[in-house]
């Protein structure tokens, strides 16, 4: 045990797991994804059982990869069906065990395409990507999305069965298939981030990690020469601009802050800069995707000075045309209220209030409550906030709503 133990990089196990599963899947074939996962899991267990005694090795990633390689060879010797892969595993040169960040990123990118291919059930793509590329475990994915562990586990099983069935090649799809495949990847990353960002009552820390993973992966995609398309940059811009505000979203007591209350000095400047960089690159071309519009709106919110609400209202109008969902309509109503006053906003919200897709969706009564309060109708405002308290919402949001109710009751 060396006395000067190097500190382990945060999330090293998770990162290395993603890296190794991708590298092993390349060699073993996508149909052996589960096998690759088992081998990687065993290598990590080996590290956990060894490093407490002999200390963390100089190159932890290389150590893990070497153990995984030995373990894979063991398995191949036992499994006749895998015998022909032995040569490939042996062919893993020292270069693979050593650091090869570029090769590792390419492997991960191909892995994302395997996890998110259109043949895999939509609801399983995010979970599978988090599991195999991000190194997240089932309990963590379940906690981030407030789902049951059994549900997530089942999705993963189904997705892996599908992959075993279709045996996709380990590659970034060829040009003819690329647009559809890329759409599917971008959609999964969008969901990975948004569901993590907004998950009602999900656990804060793991949600942040899931969001950070979505940001890492979308940058990986957008930076790849074959995938350098405006839509990918637009999504990268959107996620980066949202993520940049993350450190300022809650106060030190964990209370949620509104955009206008946030301490802008806490915003993550490098992420903001990267977001605007991708927004620029997204504009190179005639394409206008949902991601473009959402990124443009996010950009308005982080631009210094007076918020340009009329422009935001326009953007929401365009967005509503491309993505006519009640949630978009609700957001548009907020912008409308900023431009034309609370009464116009209230009318717009009341129009969508009965939509079954919004049943139990706490932001709706909260928005109405805010608009009524702004219009001076404290009675209706308090009623809507109380309605929101009857719905499921994250704890910081709840505290916030309770405060609003108390404040309004004092006014009366």
């Amino acid at each position: 045990m060396s006395p000067e133990v190097p500190q382990l990089v945060d999330h090293l196990f998770r990162r290395e797991a993603g890296r190794m599963v991708a590298a092993l899947t390349r060699v073993l074939g996508a149909e052996n994804l589960s096998l690759a996962e088992d081998v990687v899991q065993e290598s990590l267990v080996q590290a956990l059982r060894t490093w407490p005694f002999r200390g963390v090795p100089e190159n932890p990633g290389g150590w893990l990869m070497q153990v995984a390689k030995n373990r894979a060879l063991d398995l191949l010797r036992r499994e006749a069906s895998l015998a022909r892969k032995e040569e490939a595993i042996r062919g893993w040169s020292a270069a693979l065990v050593a650091d090869d960040p570029e090769g590792a990123m390419d492997d991960q990118l191909r892995m994302i395409f395997i996890c998110c291919q259109p043949a895999v059930p939509r609801e399983a793509r995010v979970a599978l990507t988090l599991k195999t590329v991000g190194g997240f475990g089932v309990p963590e994915i379940a906690r981030a999305y407030l789902a049951k562990e059994a549900t997530i586990a089942q999705r993963l099983v189904r997705a892996k069965r599908k992959i075993q069935e279709i045996r996709p090649p380990f590659e970034v799809p060829p040009p003819a298939e690329l647009p559809a495949a890329l759409d599917s990847v971008l959609e999964a990353l969008y969901l990975m981030f948004n569901e993590g960002y907004a998950a009602a009552a999900g656990e804060e820390l793991v949600r942040q990690e899931v969001c950070a993973e979505a940001v890492r992966l979308v940058r990986l995609v957008a930076e790849h020469p074959a995938l350098d398309v405006p839509k990918a940059h637009a999504l990268a811009a959107l996620l980066l601009l949202q993520a940049a505000r993350n450190p300022a979203r809650v106060d030190p007591e964990g209370n949620l802050l509104l955009l206008c209350e946030q301490d802008r000095s806490l915003w993550d400047q490098p992420k903001l800069a990267a977001g605007f960089h991708h927004l620029d690159r997204a504009a190179r071309g005639p394409e206008l995707s949902v991601y473009h519009l959402e990124a443009a709106i996010a950009a308005c919110h982080v631009t210094p000075g007076e918020t340009d609400w009329p422009y935001i209202l326009d953007l929401y109008g365009d967005l509503l045309a491309l993505k006519p969902t009640p949630v978009v309509a609700l957001n548009r109503a907020v912008a409308l209220a900023m431009v034309e006053g609370p009464a116009a906003g209230i009318r717009a919200v009341e129009e969508i209030r009965g939509d079954p897709a919004l049943a139990g969706y706490y932001p709706l009564p909260v928005t109405l409550g805010e608009l009524y309060a702004r219009a001076g109708d404290t009675k209706k405002a308090a009623a809507r906030f109380r309605e929101a308290l009857g719905m499921e919402s994250p704890e910081p949001v709840r505290r916030r709503i309770q405060e609003r109710v108390r404040g309004l009751e004092l006014v009366r």
């Binding site: 196990f13 267990v45 475990g137």
Partner: protein
């Protein structure tokens, strides 16, 4: 000062369901404990034992030595590794061992090394 061996028993299977992040957290706890014991000047050393290839060796009736493979399979409990620490007496050694996170993964056999 007396020396004590901490024999760490575990079932490797028990680790299989941990997520990578949970494993890293667990490793951090082992390391923090090891560092604390080291800094207190109480750590003599530690070794991981290999799971595979272990032997049980016994003298045969005819005077030869017979070696059998130990029960070192992943389905069974194994002696995973050992630490040697220094402590004044069993009570103190027990106190040190109590902080070891291995107690969450298996069990610890604490034995004084006989130096008489």
């Amino acid at each position: 000062m007396a020396k004590f061996a901490l024999l760490l028993h575990e079932n490797p299977r028990d680790f299989q369901n941990l997520t990578p992040e949970q494993m890293q957290v667990m490793l951090g706890r082992y390391r923090a404990w090891g560092q604390k014991v080291r800094e207190a000047g109480q750590m003599v050393g530690g070794h991981k034992l290999k799971d595979e290839g272990g032997r049980h060796m016994r003298r045969n009736g005819d005077g030869g030595v017979h070696a059998t493979d130990g029960p070192y399979t992943e389905a069974k409990e194994v002696l995973g590794g050992l630490y040697v620490i220094e402590a004044g007496d069993y009570r103190e050694a027990e106190e040190i061992a109590q902080g070891c996170p291995h107690l969450d993964n298996g069990w610890i056999e604490l034995r004084q090394i006989d130096e008489m």
